[in-house]
Amino acid sequence: MVGQAIRDAGTRNVSQARQRILDRLRQGLADPKLPWPPADAPPLTPGEHMHVATLRAEDAGLEQRFAGELEKLHGSSDIADSIVAARMFTVRKILEWLDDTGPRRVLAWSELNSWIPGLEESLFDRNVEVVVPESLDNPDTRGDLQEIRVGVTGVEVAFAATGSVLLKSTPGQSRSASLLPLNHIALIPGTRLLPNVETWLEQHQQDDSLGHAIRNSANLTLVSGPSKSADIESKLTLGVHGPKELHAVMYPVPG
């Protein structure tokens, strides 16, 4: 069993290190006089974990709370009351960011129309090219993409209590779209907006899909506001590596 694991680990000559480390830990833990950890150290069972950030009585709704939190994190948002309004808000923001100097291109997830029907056509009408790379392996492609100033993505889910969006990497959903451009717009259908991360964890725990939800994609990223730093004299600076602006558009899903 152990031998299997070592082979699986695909490393050479490490059986000794692995075995010695585990042996030392086991020997240490076997000592009854050990001051710490306690012999009886029960886990936190699922469902026992506290909700760290919660909604408040005065919250008008999930959308308002999300908007308020994101604003505190130096992001911005629109709350649309229809798909049509969502499309309008999205296009308007993108055009504002593109102004007239840079290339009229956005770096996007595939199938933008599945997030907001008609969005791709609207952008096409405004002479904005939607770029969906298939791969970033090629250095030329990478260099080319650097010029794009706006990224457009959906979300796996969003959390109102912290103003956060969870992004999942899949073949159609690049990490780059939310990472490389200076501006990022995230599209949040109402059905994907939850009170907090704990709600999401509990949902998946209940139908036994939590492990899958976490490890099914190579990368999950929780994003809360634009990239920032306070490394210089504790003063806020935005857009250090990731986007300098993050804008969310929340909208109801018909039916």
């Binding site: 694991a5 699986d8 680990a9 695909g10 490490v14 290190a17 010695r20 480390i21 585990l22 030392r24 830990l25 240490g28 050990l34 710490w36 950890p37 150290a41 029960p42 886990p43 936190l44 699922p46 974990h49 506290m50 760290v52 950030a53 790379p133 791969s135 970033l136 250095p139 990478r142 912290t162 956060s164 990497s169 899949t170 073949p171 959903q173 690049s174 990490r175 990472l179 704990e198 964890l201 492990g211 490890r215 099914n216 994609s217 190579a218 990368n219 999950l220 990223t221 990239s227 920032k228 730093s229 306070a230 490394d231 210089i232 004299e233 504790s234 600076t237 250090v240 590596h241 990731g242």
Partner: protein, 478 residues
């Protein structure tokens, strides 16, 4: 532009240098007070104590089951398509990463802030192989430009003022001088973006990793953690074996505890969770994902009774409340890990032992660190235990043991009285065992221990004044 504090110097000299630099102390006080205030505001609004209790329970459970959790984590990383490497010490970790780099013809590495790689001096090792290492945190990038090492777990350039940074950018990047932080930041973005795009390997530490899913999590505000784990062909995460949490729920509990304690934020900007290399047809992401599980003294710490400190989530809260840290800065500790937690773990980590026998004395035992700690690690108690063990020879060579035996009893005795209402009188009683001459030579811990019990937490005499007086006499712990 070198640091004015020589980190190779003995502890006493380093403190002397730090205290002799008034700008440093002012900047530090301002910055750490700012962080403290932020933290207070955020913690007020939640059930802070419940979070601390749950964290402590979760971390105790993790330690108790660490061998099994490590095996489970390894299995899951492998199932996700990643590789796991075990390193007993710094040399082995460096060798593993060096070999990986060679195998992939790596010429340039981009890194996001990592105490674990600082601990093993990875950059040194890779540079000796002709590999360029670029630190990509804004703070660390500045540090690297200035050829220094970080002074604070969370905010590495906390000791530098903006005009000094501007001078540095002018000198190294030929940038016109400016006092606008945003302009400096924008310049660093451009410089570093080129590095990300041209690097062959990304290396990060790990804030925590999920045993149940084989997921490595890194927490950043700037986004460089995402960059190093996304853009280069090969991504390597270096983690101490204590960094595991059992489940995704535990991970998000720790994440939120960490952000609140570290910087007073409810969330950081980014939490990147990597479960293996890029999947088939993914647009981007590394082709290879490696995890280096590093012991480097940790399993021995557990066996020696110091495993409470292995619950540390590296939030830096204990640094921000520490009166000693505020006065001597991270460089005064001369080490990767500074502040109260650094004073405990640095002498226990393999390589650093010899240089760090003084560190357990770099504390006033005022207890502020324990109260600030999100895992409620009893740092003052561990410092006392460590002093005791150092003196009794458990961790040190004979000559140093003899030098310290003079105050062995004193240093270890306060534990027996802690928590009693009569702490002030206790202090007096302990002191009465000494004549005048000895009193002058009293080691720092007891000196301040008695003061702190007699007076409110803010000491009447600053560390600076105290040090000025003390350095006139010969302290025993040279």
């Amino acid at each position: 532009m070198r640091s004015r504090i020589d980190i190779e110097a003995p502890f006493k000299t380093r403190v002397k240098q730090a205290v002799a630099n008034p700008t440093l102390a002012d900047t530090l006080t301002r910055a750490t007070l700012h962080l403290k205030e932020q933290k207070r505001l955020s913690l007020e609004e939640l059930e802070a104590q419940r979070l601390r209790d749950q964290m402590r329970q979760m971390k105790a459970h993790t330690l108790r089951n660490l061998p099994e959790l490590l095996e489970r984590f390894e299995r899951n990383v492998v199932m996700n398509g990643g590789r796991v490497h075990w390193a007993e010490d710094a040399d082995e970790a460096n060798r593993i990463i060096g070999e990986l780099a060679e195998r992939h013809d790596v010429r340039k590495v981009v890194k996001s802030k990592s105490m674990a790689t600082e601990e093993i001096h990875l950059n040194h090792h890779l540079e000796a192989k002709g590999i360029t290492c670029v630190e990509t945190d804004l703070g660390e990038y500045i540090i690297q430009l200035a050829a220094e090492i970080p002074s604070h777990i969370v905010a590495p350039v906390i000791h530098k003022r903006i005009d000094e940074i501007s001078d540095l950018f002018a000198e190294k990047l030929s940038m016109p001088r400016t006092l606008d932080p945003q302009a400096l930041c924008a310049r660093a973005r451009v410089e570093l973006r080129q590095e990300f795009l041209s690097a062959d390997m990304g290396i990060s530490g790990c804030n925590f990793a999920i045993a149940d899913t084989g997921t490595v999590c890194i927490v950043t505000n700037e986004g460089n953690g995402r960059m190093v784990s996304t853009l280069p062909r090969v991504y390597v995460a270096v983690m101490g074996i204590e960094k595991l949490v059992p489940t995704p729920q535990d991970a998000f509990l720790q994440y939120q505890s960490l952000t609140r304690s570290a910087t007073g934020q409810r969330v950081t900007v980014y939490l990147s969770m990597t479960s293996g290399p890029k999947r088939l047809e993914d647009v981007d992401g590394p082709e290879e994902f490696h995890v280096v599980l590093m012991d480097n003294g940790r399993s021995r710490m557990l066996a020696d009774g110091y495993s409470e400190s292995l619950m540390c989530i590296r939030c830096g809260a204990c640094l921000n409340v520490c009166p000693v840290y505020r006065q001597i800065s991270g460089h005064g500790y001369g080490n990767t890990y500074s502040g109260p937690i650094g004073a405990v773990i640095s002498p226990l980590l393999s390589e650093e032992m010899a240089r760090n026998k003084d560190l357990p004395y770099a504390s006033t035992l005022c207890g502020a660190c324990r109260d600030a700690c999100p895992v409620q690690i009893d740092l003052p108690k561990m410092l006392l235990n460590l002093r005791h063990d150092l003196v009794s020879g458990k961790h040190m060579p004979g000559a140093e043991r003899r030098a310290m035996q003079g105050f062995a009893g004193v240093a270890s005795r306060p534990t027996a009285y802690r928590g009693t209402a009569r702490a002030a009188r206790t202090g007096t009683r302990l002191l009465s065992g000494f004549g005048d001459r000895n009193l002058r030579r009293l080691p720092p811990p007891l000196h301040h221990w008695t003061r702190q019990r007699d007076f409110p937490p803010m000491a009447k005499q600053s560390f600076r004044e105290w040090w000025a007086k003390r350095s006139g006499t010969r302290g025993p712990a040279t």
